[in-house]
Symmetry: C2
Subunit: 211 residues, 2 copies
């Protein structure tokens, strides 16, 4: 019997290292499935349907929400974003963990969903705000105005750190990744996440009987 | 502010690798304190007071129990065994974890004590009973009668595996040790075990204010 897969929620302000950590986690264990978000925002150049996002028209997104097809969804800057439910439930049944890169609103909704008992949530904090801003500027993708907007959103995001099971301060990417690995490894070893143990102990008891 | 130390409970039938794992855990992190048991059984050659056991007369052991000085205690083959409370509370206050090598009865009592919220309990299962017996025989310390007694106690011990937070099947000592390290690492990263985070986030907010 496969264990139920975990729902790994990773949240952080942008620039705290979350995307890098998520990518490394999936390189470490390719059975971890990344939850590709659905969105009504139009694709940017190079973005692929089903890889970067599931691109939807407003009406089809709404229809999915109405059919209970989204584990969580929210409107951000006029666009809808959400996590489709069906692929998550398939992965769980196969004993595969799903990784969610969502903000605190998404985290709250998934935690409060019927799948909430399998949630493990991790919040990544930056060592300092100066460092957070430096990382955003070093990416060189964003204008000053966009960076200001991101910093305001960061403050809001950080205010929700205390809702998460685990908190990591990412002052060193390698050390933080090792900690994140430890969290995933440990959560999988919890007794109630190892359905095969019952059979193993039954086997041990049969051996005792046969002595 | 130091975090409160954890109470790490390690239980297993004898021969499952618990003592080796405990020793390796303390080599890995020398801040982990081993809870030396108190006992009324007479010292064997080479055993030192305060290292292998705290040796007590029956009356002084009983007096400690009456003064609530034992976190747990039990009678085994006519001798009393117990875990003194005071050194555990000192270690916890200093943010040091304490490692307990106790059986299921000790585990239950510590879990149900006022310090129970800081307990993390790990049960080590053998890959098979044949392997468990082989390891006991390979030690070459015990007569057939003693090994029979240990095997009967093992069966009783294994019947309590489902009371533990985490369960490890020790089919490979190195892999099992890495898993045990992950459990300790992860438990220390739980949000409510990191009192310093509140100050860290206050610092981040001051940085936001000053921008």
């Amino acid at each position: 019997m496969a264990r139920r897969g975990l729902l790994l929620i990773l949240s952080s302000p942008s620039g705290a290292g979350k995307s890098t950590l998520a990518r490394r986690l999936m390189q470490w264990d390719p059975t971890i499935r990344f939850s590709v978000s659905a969105t009504t925002r139009p694709p940017r150049p190079g973005e692929e349907h089903g890889v970067h996002y599931w691109f939807h028209h407003h009406a089809s997104f709404r229809a999915l929400v109405d059919q209970n097809g989204m584990l969580e969804h929210a409107e951000v800057f006029g666009n809808l974003y959400g996590s489709p439910r069906a692929p998550v439930e398939r992965a769980m049944a196969e004993g595969r963990d799903t990784l969610f890169d969502v903000d605190w609103q998404g985290g709250q909704q998934i935690r409060n969903s019927p799948l909430g008992r399998d949630v493990v949530s991790v919040f990544i904090l930056p060592p300092s705000i100066a460092e957070l801003e430096r990382r955003l500027r070093d990416r060189g993708q964003d204008s000053d105005a966009v960076i200001s907007g991101r910093m305001a959103k960061s403050r809001d995001e950080i205010s929700h750190w205390a809702e998460y099971d685990y908190v990591l301060v990412n002052d060193d990417l390698e050390a933080t990744f090792v900690r994140l690995q430890a969290i995933v490894t440990a959560e999988r070893l919890k007794r109630d996440r190892q359905p095969d143990l019952t059979g193993h102990v039954r086997g041990l008891n049969r051996e005792f009987e046969a002595r």
